[in-house]
Structure formats: structure tokens, C-alpha cells
Amino acid sequence: MTGRLRAFLRLYAVQGAWNYERMLGVGMGYAAEPLLEDLRRIDPVRHTEAVVRSAQFFNSHPYLAGLALGASVRAEYDGAPGPQVSRLRTALCSPLGALGDQLFWAGLLPAMVGLALAAIALGAGPWMVVAFLLAFNLVRAWTAGWALRTGLRTGMMVGTAIGSSLIPRAATVAGAAAGFSVGLAAPLVAVWLAGALGRAELLGAAGVAAAGVVASRLAGPRYAAPKFALLAFGVTLLFRWVTR
């Protein structure tokens, strides 16, 4: 297995040691290890310094971490000064975090989940779950591979490569797709779940949903869906106990 393939596979565990101190740092060091092996033979002192830098603080979206990993490893082989490599990693944290969050967490994931929910509500059945997993992971694997290749190819110029890539435009499109598919799924899922209980239950669920949305608007960041759900369960049980 080549060092590049091992690094690609290790990127799947880049958040394995996620913590509030170095965040993805240790995971990045773990993924960098196979890529830095040749540097040990070329320049052992530089290799030790590179290993230390590779596990320092780093944070980004995990699926795009390969860009920073590849770029910093390439910079180490190119002989860039150590502080410059550290600055490159630091500079990539915010853009890779923001782009990845927009593209995957706020875009592609809710878009694909919304479509899967809508399809299930329309009768697609459990196989839709398999289709969702396959589709999402194909995109994710392709992105991770592209990110590592691009980072290794461009080194210190990785910022330009990111700016001219499809990623920023894809993030905008994915956000719109997420809005559409979640909107599409909401009424279909409501009818599929509550409609099967009966017309009165459908109306009741719609009432609870409306109360929940109003509560989330009024409470702002203090609102948490699980806590609202537990409160609603408690009120329901109390109501039934009183009215029985």
C-alpha cells in the first residue's frame, strides 16, 4: 500500500482524537505519518520537526482536511521554512472549516437526507437508505481524494487552487438544494407518519409542530429540539393522568 493511499485511509479517522485543545491536530499527525516517511531518509532532522508540526493544533471540516494535509506535507518536502508551514496550516483552518460546513453539513447532507425522507414517504422503502449512504459516500470519497491530491500538487499555492475549484460554487448550490429538499420532505413525511395514525392525529401533530417552531423562534439559541420533545412528552403524560 502506498503512503498516499495509507494517508487517504487515515483521513477517515482524522477526528479520532478530537479534543478541545488541539482539535484535529493529533488526527492530522496520524494521517501525515505515511506521507512523511520518505523525508526521514532525506533529512532526519527536518522529518522530526515536520512530525511535531503535523500534530499541532488544527481545525477544519474533516472531509476537506486533506487539502491542508497535502499542502503542508508538500511544503515540508519543498523545504519551506517551518514557521511558514505552521502559518499555512493556521491560515487554512477558517476557510476549510467554513467551506466544508457550508458544502457538507448545511448543504449536501440535509439535501440528500431530505430527498431520502421524501422518497421514503412516497413509498421507496428501506432501499432508499442504502441509496443515500452510497450516494453520500461516493461524493465524500471523491472529495477527500481530490483534496489530498490537490494539496500535495499545489503545496503553498493551495489557496489559489481552492479558490478556482468547484468547492465554493458547489457550496452555494448545495445550500439551495438543502432548502428545497427539506421543504419538499416536510409535508410528505408529516402525512406518511401522522396520516397513518388518523386525521385527528395529523392535525394534532401539526399543532405540536407549529408550537415547536414558534418556541424555537421565541427562545432563539436557547431552544433545543430534544428538550422541547421531553417537555412535550411530560405535558402529554400529565394531561392524560389528569383527564383519565
Binding site: 432548502g179 419538499l184 420532505a185 433545543a224 430534544p226 422541547f228 420533545a229
Partner: protein, 225 residues
């Protein structure tokens, strides 16, 4: 409740699902829709697992797992909730109780993840000298220990969810009206989380227009069917 081999499989599945949320491989098997459907299939009722998974998925759509934010761990919770629904049968009356089990355990999962992250930070501090000297072995050991700790956390969380499900099957006796009412409330809470989360994410830009277009299209499909 499921027999011993099925319980062992559910425990293994819950562990994989718990690891998937953050540690490895983040392949989205931790999404309640996936975790619940597979758990239902293992427990012998895929339909019940799918419905429980779908409902908890609506709740999970409320929060985006961005940056260092805290979020409930719905994966192992869904495994226990789906196993309960599959064991009881009749999803119409078990959905609400399954959702309550799922939500409770997901909140415990949030807390456990928070503790785990602090534990890993302490481990890193304890090995700061090795990291500062460029010891690759120390990096590898930290990585594997952290993943092993998350696996332990996931096993415990899945076991808690399965135990709560078993306890509810054994001791919780609700009349049909109350059980169905809880299911109705759970569905309403799920829809509120989904729609509320979508409105928050949409902001005021083009995305909110797409959300509205989607909702109108969904309503049209409902009326046409």
C-alpha cells in the same frame, strides 16, 4: 426483546454507529435514518426501525454538527429505540415511547462526548513531551487510545438504550390512547425540529426561497396523491 445473538449484533452495530459520529469513518451510518433501519432489520422489524429512524432523523436535522458545537448523539440511541419498537410491534403505539428513549439517550450521548473530548485533551497533555519531540509512536498511540475510548463510550451508550428499551417493554404499561397520543406528539416535535432547523439555516437569502418552493412542491404532491 431480541434474542441473545440479535442483542450482540445490536450492540456491535450501536458501537460502529457511535464511532461513526465523530471518530471514524464519518460515513453517515450514525444518521438515525440509517442506524434505525439497520437496527430494525437486525431486531426483526425493518418497517418499525425505519419509522423510528426517520422520526429521530427529523430531530437530528435541528442541529448541524459544525466545528466544536455540542450535539446529541442520536446513533446508539436510535439503535435502542428501534430495537424497542421492533420488539413491541405496532409502530403506531410504540413510536412515542421509542422516541422518548431515543431523545433521553441522545442527550446522555451529548454529555458523554463532551467528557470524552476532555479526557482526550488530558491524555494529550500527559504526553506533551513525546509530541514535542516528534515521536510518531506517541501520535499513533494517542489516536488509537482515543478511538478505543470512543468505542467504549459507544458500547455503553448502546447498552443503556437497549436496557431502557427492555425496561419499557417489561414494566411500562400505557393505555392505547396515551401511547398513540405520545406518538402524535413525537411526530409533531420531529416536524418542529426539521422545519425550525431549516428556517434557521435558510436565513434570509435565496435559500429561504428554495425552502418555500420545496414546501409548496411537497404540499402539491400530498394533494395530488
Amino acid at each position: 426483546m431480541p434474542d441473545a445473538p440479535a442483542l450482540a449484533l445490536l450492540l456491535a452495530w450501536g458501537t460502529l454507529v457511535g464511532l461513526d459520529l465523530v471518530s471514524v469513518p464519518q460515513a453517515m451510518i450514525a444518521r438515525p435514518l440509517v442506524a434505525g433501519t439497520v437496527a430494525g432489520w437486525i431486531a426483526g422489524d425493518t418497517e418499525a426501525g425505519l419509522r423510528v429512524g426517520l422520526l429521530l432523523e427529523l430531530l437530528a436535522l435541528d442541529v448541524l454538527p459544525v466545528g466544536a458545537s455540542r450535539y446529541p448523539d442520536y446513533g446508539p440511541a436510535t439503535v435502542g429505540a428501534a430495537a424497542f419498537a421492533a420488539a413491541v410491534g405496532g409502530w403506531e403505539s410504540s413510536l412515542g415511547i421509542a422516541a422518548a428513549i431515543g431523545v433521553l439517550v441522545a442527550l446522555v450521548g451529548d454529555w458523554s462526548l463532551f467528557r470524552l473530548r476532555h479526557r482526550i485533551a488530558r491524555d494529550i497533555q500527559a504526553h506533551a513531551a513525546a509530541l514535542a519531540s516528534g515521536d510518531s509512536g506517541a501520535i499513533r498511540a494517542l489516536q488509537w487510545r482515543s478511538i478505543a475510548r470512543d468505542a467504549g463510550r459507544s458500547v455503553a451508550l448502546t447498552a443503556l438504550a437497549l436496557a431502557l428499551g427492555a425496561a419499557a417493554t417489561r414494566w411500562l404499561s400505557l393505555d392505547m390512547v396515551t401511547a398513540r397520543m405520545l406518538s402524535m406528539v413525537a411526530i409533531g416535535c420531529g416536524l418542529a425540529a426539521m422545519v425550525g432547523g431549516a428556517i434557521r439555516s435558510a436565513g434570509r437569502g435565496a435559500r429561504v426561497r428554495w425552502l418555500a418552493i420545496g414546501a409548496v412542491s411537497g404540499l402539491a404532491l400530498v394533494l395530488l396523491r
